[in-house]
């Protein structure tokens, strides 16, 4: 063996071998890039509000920045003297990590609708006050209705506003056996993400029969009448509207 080669063999392997791309590191960079890209996409497209409340949407820019920094670190260390092999099993596991990114990007933007309203909890009357003081004056909003629905005192305050003019935006849901000129105007209240959504519902009466389908977003204007544990809007105007930029209300 010549002397030069002998000397090289005494050095650490990584100094002897020229660095090459590692398939494992390339695949992990792909996963980090996918997630970082998703968070930047959510920021750019404004779709965060389809998944998170305004109280927690700060996690999206934080996720975008941290994942981008992690990606930069991974990209700068893609090469190694001993490239690790990517097995089929590892490729599948990394693919599984990226799959949710594909689903969010490939599917059209949508928010929870009448299917969820049938299966999730709704706000119902209970023995605590919430922010009932806000209900007694000013414009009545769906958040006020939510406070009233979960508060005995709030419902009393709302009852004093019977006959007040209101305008609510929500989507249409129907109970079986409901008259054709009635529907439930529904909106979800979200604390952190859509997984903790609770529905708020008001019964709209006097709507044009058969004009509005389930899940259609509408604006209903009319007079408000709290009755028992239910809130009714005697409609003077019901019109279709586009889905709001923020489809969920925040508690």
């Amino acid at each position: 063996m010549d002397r030069a080669l002998d000397t090289r063999l005494d050095r650490p392997a990584e100094r002897v071998h020229r660095a090459g791309l590692s398939p494992v590191r390339v695949a992990s960079a792909l996963a980090l890039a996918s997630w970082a890209g998703l968070f930047w996409f959510l920021i750019g497209s404004g779709r965060t509000s389809l998944y998170l409340s305004s109280r927690t949407d700060w996690v999206v820019p934080v996720g975008a920045i941290v994942l981008t920094a992690a990606l930069a670190g991974r990209l700068l260390s893609l090469r190694t003297a001993r490239p690790e092999a990517l097995t089929r099993r590892e490729a599948l596991a990394i693919g599984l990590t990226i799959l949710p990114v594909v689903t969010v990007l490939a599917l059209p933007p949508a928010s929870l609708g009448s299917f969820a309203a049938d299966r999730r909890s709704s706000l119902a009357s209970a023995g605590f006050s919430g922010d009932a003081g806000d209900i007694s004056s000013g414009e009545v909003t769906l958040v006020d209705v939510a406070s009233a629905l979960r508060s005995g005192e709030g419902m009393q305050q709302l009852t004093k506003r019977a006959g007040a003019e209101v305008g609510f935006v929500g989507f249409v849901t129907r109970d079986p056996g409901m008259p054709a000129d009635e529907f439930l105007l529904t909106r979800f209240l979200v604390s952190c993400c859509a997984a903790d959504a609770l529905s708020i519902q008001v019964r709209v009466v006097g709507a044009p029969p058969g004009r509005f389908e389930a899940d259609q977003w509408v604006r209903a204007e009319g007079l408000l009448y709290p009755l028992g544990g239910e809130v009714i809007v005697d409609a003077t105007l019901v019109e279709g509207v586009p889905r709001p930029d923020r489809p969920y209300l925040n508690s």
Binding site: S28, W35, V60, I98, A110, C193
Partner: protein, 331 residues
């Protein structure tokens, strides 16, 4: 003769697998487009819940991975000697209360606890910290306060949750006390990749990516299971047991397991179950942050066989006993 100037080549098929990965994902996108889940209400609901759970949890997982990689690369093993020098009866309470200083959800605390145990902290202390952090952190205490503000049960809920959470975490820590980290941690097949030579930042990047991908895959499975259950199991089915004393507590613990909510938001959901008493709502708030569908998957991947079953049993027992007492005292 071998040309030593060339890099050692990866095994045959490695680059094919990278291509298969990219091709498979592109195919998945095409299939999703063709199915158009918007036409199928249940499928659309599933994807919204699935996406929202992950979009909220992934930043916490990656922050947990940053802390975990930082501990591995920058914190010397002797840093935990001071903790080990504490009298044994003090170690678990100190580890539990340390959760107060780590305001992340439960997903972020799992990789940190694993790294702490691997780095030399006693596994009992690491597990106690992992279980208490999602309940004792200030954001969770504040959100519980806001959710129950104005109710007669405000302080029993806020204080009871913190106290029972700490007790349950310490009970699990006490059960695993005496076990070594090799006995409690499950070996990770991908970990050999992370021992990357070179500068510290390169090693840090390797650990960060490794922890994120390892936790991420199990989080995806857990979020899918939780979204499936949320989509197809109506929440109204548990309402029928609201008046049955012990069954109501168990039902709310089961619901917390199924829903897999973030501990920072679960108080608002618990507060909506007004047909249930204070004990049952408290059971939901104590059990859920320590034991749920997605955590079950994460624990099973991180810890040795039997760990998850033990956590369910211990946390379940402490929660049940504690909430029964609180219901007797307050309810």
């Amino acid at each position: 003769m071998v040309d030593l100037a060339r890099p050692a080549p990866p095994r045959t098929g490695s680059w094919t697998n990278v291509l298969l990965l990219g091709g498979g994902l592109a195919l998945a996108a095409l299939v999703l487009r063709a199915i158009d889940p918007g036409r199928i209400a249940g499928l659309q609901n599933f994807f919204i819940i699935f996406g929202s759970l992950l979009i909220e949890a992934v930043p916490f997982i990656v922050m947990g991975a940053v802390v975990s990689a930082g501990i591995e690369v920058f914190v010397p093993a002797r840093a935990f000697d001071r903790m080990a020098a504490l009298p044994k009866p003090l170690q678990l309470p100190v580890a539990g209360i340390a959760g107060f200083a780590f305001p992340v959800c439960e997903c972020g605390s799992v990789p940190v606890a694993r790294r702490l145990a691997a780095k030399g902290l006693s596994p009992a202390a690491a597990v106690t910290f992992m279980l208490s952090a999602p309940i004792l952190n200030p954001i969770v205490i504040a959100s519980t306060y806001v959710a129950y503000r104005g109710r007669d049960t405000l302080w029993p809920m806020v204080l009871g949750r913190s106290f029972l959470g700490l007790m349950a975490a310490m009970a699990v820590g006490w059960v695993v006390a005496g076990r070594s980290s090799s006995e409690i941690l499950r070996p990770r097949p991908d970990e050999e990749h992370h021992h990357e030579s070179g500068p510290r930042w390169s090693s840090f990047a390797g650990h960060l990516a490794g922890d994120f991908l390892f936790m991420g895959r199990y989080l995806v499975i857990g979020a899918a299971a939780a979204a499936l259950l949320q989509t197809f199991v109506p929440q109204s089915i548990i309402g029928s047991v609201a008046d049955t004393p012990v069954l109501a507590l168990v039902a709310m613990m089961g619901l917390a397991f199924v829903l897999s909510l973030c501990s920072e938001s679960d108080a608002f959901v618990a507060a909506s179950f007004v047909q249930f008493g204070v004990g049952a709502q408290l059971a939901f708030l104590v059990f859920g942050p320590m034991v749920d569908t997605k955590l079950g998957i994460l624990y099973s991947a991180t810890f040795s066989k039997g760990f998850f079953r033990m956590v369910v049993l211990v946390v379940g027992t402490v929660t049940l006993m504690g909430t029964l007492w609180i219901e007797v005292l307050v309810g």
